[in-house]
């Protein structure tokens, strides 16, 4: 099991590094939001792997929080990005408008 943990850690570290590169390079805020979502998925995978490796379920509630948090994060960034030029996005957002 230790070998598996090492392999997974290395793979996830590489994935996290590549994602960070995209977060830094951007270019737009939406690119960063998408990359942050992926980074969050990598973090979820890391925490779950740690729980699986040590057979310790203490961190599992964190996963529940992260699963919801990522959604709230990217939706609010998308709202913010859409709000800046509301004139043309509002044509297509039926149902979400009050």
């Amino acid at each position: 099991m230790t070998a598996v943990a090492v392999i997974v850690t290395v793979l996830l570290a590489v994935a996290g590094g590549l994602t960070l590169a995209r977060i830094i390079r951007g270019p737009s805020i939406l690119d960063r939001a998408v990359a942050t979502d992926v980074l969050l998925a990598v973090i979820v995978a890391a925490i779950a792997t740690e729980a699986a490796y040590s057979r310790d379920a203490t961190a599992l509630p964190v996963l529940v929080v992260l699963a919801v948090l990522g959604f709230v994060g990217s939706v609010s960034v998308a709202r913010f990005a859409a709000r800046r030029d509301d004139t043309s996005t509002s044509t297509t957002s039926e149902g979400s408008q009050p």
């Binding site: 529940v64 044509t91 297509t92 039926e94």
Partner: protein, 202 residues
């Protein structure tokens, strides 16, 4: 589009809900919320169930759900078939996107495809869009409620023939969903318009 709100409530495709349908929707929502609450606590006890009921009722009173028409019923075997097919698609699509990422050479080409669903209900539109979004390689850009059309961004499309094949794929996915949860009337509409003849928007 929302340009003409006066037609919205009497729209044939989105009729207002009857009282019993609303009650049933609320009952389903309460059951689902209680289930989530019990799962969060991890143990099935009366205290958890009653606590969950209180939370669910308060939540539904504060955030009422939009009306959803559910005319059909759940068919277990087609449902199983839908899930198996979905899992297979998921693995295949993930492998394809991973291959596109690793491949050396030209950046992948993509397409934005309009697929007009045959059953224009909110539930069907939502479920088809959810299933498509969950698959890597297809992404919902826009959903037109009035005509029941999904605008899908598809990765790795190289020519027009593949565009048509993908459109057929969307309609087949819709057919599997309707077979799993649709009503007899919706099923008939699916059978009358096979996937290879329909779906091209007017």
């Amino acid at each position: 589009m929302s340009s003409d709100p006066s037609t919205e409530p009497t729209d044939r495709a989105h009729p207002p809900l009857s009282r019993t349908a609303r009650r049933r929707n609320q009952a389903i929502a309460v059951t689902a919320l209680v289930a989530v609450w019990v799962l969060l606590w991890g143990t099935l006890s009366w205290a958890n169930i009653i606590g969950g009921l209180v939370v669910a009722v308060v939540l539904l009173a504060v955030f009422p759900l939009p009306p959803v028409t559910f005319a059909g019923r759940i068919h277990p075997l087609p449902m199983l078939r839908f899930w198996l097919h979905f899992l297979r698609d998921l693995v295949v699509a993930s492998a394809q996107v991973a291959w596109l990422a690793m491949r050396v050479g030209h950046p992948p080409r993509s397409a934005i495809i309009a697929a007009r669903l045959r059953v224009n209900t909110d539930l069907n539109l939502t479920l088809t869009a959810e299933a498509l979004s969950l698959l890597p390689g297809s992404l919902i850009l826009e959903a037109d409620r009035r005509t029941g059309t999904l605008y899908v961004h598809v990765l790795g499309v190289t020519d027009k023939a593949e565009v048509e094949r993908f459109r057929r794929g969307v309609l087949e996915l819709e057919a599997r969903i309707i077979e799993a949860i649709g009503s007899a009337e919706e099923l008939r509409r699916i059978r009358e318009n096979p996937a290879d003849r329909e779906g091209v928007p007017a």
